[in-house]
Symmetry: C2
Subunit: 227 residues, 2 copies
DNA sequence: GAATAAATTAATGTATGCACTAATGTATTC
DNA sequence: GAATACATTAGTGCATACATTAATTTATTC
């Protein structure tokens, strides 16, 4: 839906526009390949072109849209190749995160930020609740990166998850049950706790690579060439 | 210098403004911590605030400036902690690149894109030409990432090199001679050619970690807290 | 009727103006 | 002289108007 934005508080319109557009892209309200003129976007939200422009510049740098000079803002479709790129980047960043954490002494509370989502995944699997599973999975991966304390690492992972979000959602219900995801996560946490950096990174790498392969073959099989 | 921008061709002013500002930041024409008003920036380049704004939004997302609502654009200083973060990210991305390449069969021409800069480094070292050495080093690392064909990986590495650029330059002449850099590069290329992904990634990791440690201790020693 | 040229439209890139508000300065009070 | 209230300034956020130019349509020629 995304009706007109209310000028609630001291939050700049450009910021609200950005948030709103981002939401709509991630949730497929604005679907891939769609092209919308700046004016239309402005009208849709009840703001002028200026904040729309600013939002779009940000979204473009974030990899979610392309600005095509006379044809409006194009919601960037994710091809299979894009997906491969994105997963490669995530693999690099996250497995490095696992490595970093393994070299640290994490507190019990910190470890729990990893184990709790993992248990939640297990539970969600039992109940066959894929959305809950996906959310918990996301929590785990996010916690992994957050715990490193490296803000840039976190920002990047968030950015790239954003790019992959639509595709992940589209395949959530047609993919095979992610049975060994939980096992992988447990193994990563174990390696981290044991301080085995190499192993933690390696397990996580393989986990991610498996995920990538599964995703790509799914996209190919279902001819999801552009999401 | 960076005098007024000429409206050369079909290139948008916002783009030229962005390029110009980015250059000036990387080359320390605009130095770290400096705060400049939108109006001033506009006057400096002979453009209105609109393109300046657009450029700044981009630069902010790129991590080069902060926009501080009533105090202008602040050239983001790089702290030691920032530097550590940046190197961690680069380590993750580049060592993954090495791993990816090792899993491929590279052509002779492709290999040469790695070996040539390495030889140039060696040569520059002999002549004690640090600038040339740095440029060749950069070429090597760039080629490594470019060869993967992963555009996102490349963009990220370029972005983070950008953030680290000032600090690298500032320390170029006070750092000890980078004697074993060449050896590391050769070893990485060897591992890649042998198809030993694990080893290629590992060597490159260690190469980067060494670089990071050297850089950080240098920054600490010279009290470069904000670059 | 097809092809080219001219004219029109429309979307963006840029400049500008206004309103809002944080920051600063001044005045008043005690 | 310090503190608070008030007035002033100045920078930005946003809307809007204008200029530019790609795209499209119409007109003209063969």
């Amino acid at each position: 839906m995304s009706a007109s934005i209310k000028k609630t508080s001291g939050v700049p319109l450009a910021e609200m526009t950005y948030q709103s557009l981002r939401e709509d892209i991630l949730n497929n309200v604005l679907s891939a390949g769609e092209q919308i003129l700046e004016k239309e976007l402005g009208e849709r939200l009840g703001v002028s072109r200026t904040p729309v422009r600013e939002a779009c510049v940000r979204l473009e740098r974030e990899g979610l849209v392309d600005i095509k000079p006379r044809h409006g803002i194009r919601i960037k479709p994710i091809s299979i190749n894009d997906m491969a790129e994105i997963y490669q980047v995530l693999t690099a960043l996250e497995s490095e995160a696992a490595r970093i954490l393994a070299a640290r002494d994490l507190s019990a509370a910190q470890i729990e930020r990893l184990t709790r989502p993992t248990m939640a995944m297990e539970q969600a699997m039992k109940e066959d609740d894929r959305e809950a599973w996906a959310a918990s999975d996301e929590s785990f991966h996010l916690a992994l990166v957050e715990l490193t304390g490296n803000q840039r690492l976190l920002d990047l992972v968030l950015q790239f998850w954003g790019q992959a979000h639509r595709a992940r959602y589209c395949t959530l219900y047609i993919r095979p049950k992610p049975t060994d995801s939980t096992r992988d996560h447990v193994a990563v946490v174990d390696a981290i706790c044991l301080g085995n950096a190499e192993k933690a990174a390696e397990i996580h790498r393989i986990h991610r690579v498996k995920g990538k392969e599964a995703m790509l073959s799914l996209l190919e099989k279902h001819r999801f060439n552009q999401l």
